[in-house]
């Protein structure tokens, strides 16, 4: 019976490890969008978010030369809204599993550009590194 339990543990561990190395990093820019024309951006903070993702995004965008504001409201005079979806997971500690950042046209909510990164437990990155990766990938895609 002990051997059986050991087998069970080995199989479950293998499944855990296999799923723990899943990674993804994608970005796309709508053909009708031109990010170079944007000067001001407004990051729409998720009201209940406490991990500081909106601040990280705003800081990263400022390093790229944009004038950035942040609030929980979508009302803004900015050239584009920046929204995000963060997905967290627990594995010994909490970590940011997946982050999607989207640049939107303020009036229509149309997604001008979007990037997504997913790093499972074994290749986990800090929230700041995830924000860097997603935003850098969006701008790399815009340059193509």
């Amino acid at each position: 019976m002990k051997r059986g339990l050991a087998t069970l543990v080995v199989v479950l561990l293998a499944a855990h490890l296999l799923s723990g190395c899943a990674n993804r990093a994608t970005a796309r820019v709508d053909p009708s969008a031109n990010l170079a024309t944007l000067k001001t951006l407004h990051v729409v903070k998720i009201p209940e978010e406490t991990a500081g993702i909106s601040t990280l995004i705003a800081d990263k965008l400022r390093t790229k030369g944009y004038s950035v504001t942040t609030s929980t409201s979508k009302e803004s005079d900015a050239d584009a809204l920046v929204t995000y979806i963060d997905r967290w997971m627990w594995d010994i500690t909490m970590y940011l599993l997946e982050l999607t950042i989207t640049f939107r046209e303020p009036k229509s909510d149309f997604a001008l550009a979007s990037g997504n990164s997913m790093h499972a437990s074994l290749t986990r990155k800090s929230p700041a590194e995830m924000v860097d990766e997603v935003i850098d990938n969006i701008f790399k895609e815009a340059e193509k």
Binding site: R3, V11, T26
Partner: protein
């Protein structure tokens, strides 16, 4: 006897692993194609459809929507409903429809699986590159135990349902235009 119980535990473990992670299949193009759009609008123009933002379904992944399948489902719906005179490939159409999956939110565990999808729809008139429509369309679909007992199947059904509703709404919005 010990050997038998060991094998039983092994089989149980493999079943658990399969149930949790295995055998996902990509969303089916036929299942993503909406039926009757309830519109009599028929534009006397041709349209080219291009899709982006989708991804293939990997061995350790859950059901995804591939760009090719999404494009085929949209083209099929346009043809079935005769929304445009014809669907063309490449850049020879009167209009160009770009549909990009912005977000596909899928649950990892649960009984009833709800999938949320957002896609950006852009319709461009090819002759002068004017943007006729730019919209972000959000859709959602829930698949329950009544739809499928296997989790991987239930999740695929939820993904297909969300895509089908998204395509239906997108084409209805286009039908409401005056081209």
């Amino acid at each position: 006897m010990r050997s038998l119980s060991r094998w039983l535990v092994l089989c149980l473990a493999l079943l658990v692993v399969a149930g949790l992670s295995g055998c996902a299949s990509s969303a089916n193009r036929q299942a993503m194609t909406p039926g009757d759009l309830a519109t009599t609008k028929k534009f006397p123009y041709s349209v080219a459809v291009r899709t982006a933002g989708g991804s293939e379904t990997g061995a350790m992944d859950s059901s995804n929507i591939s760009d090719q399948d999404l494009q085929a489902a949209i083209e099929e719906a346009i043809t079935q409903n005769k929304l445009f005179q014809r669907v063309v490939q490449g850049k020879d159409g009167d209009y160009e429809l770009s549909v990009t999956i912005v977000h596909l939110d899928k649950p990892i565990f649960g009984g009833a699986f709800t999938v949320d999808m957002e896609a950006s729809w852009a319709l461009v008139k090819v002759s002068d590159r004017s943007i006729v429509m730019r919209k972000s369309i959000k859709s959602s679909h829930t698949a329950t135990f009544g739809d499928a007992l296997a989790a991987v199947t239930r999740l695929r059904l939820a993904v297909e349902g969300a895509a089908r509703k998204n395509i239906e709404q997108g084409l209805k919005d286009i039908a409401a235009l005056s081209l």
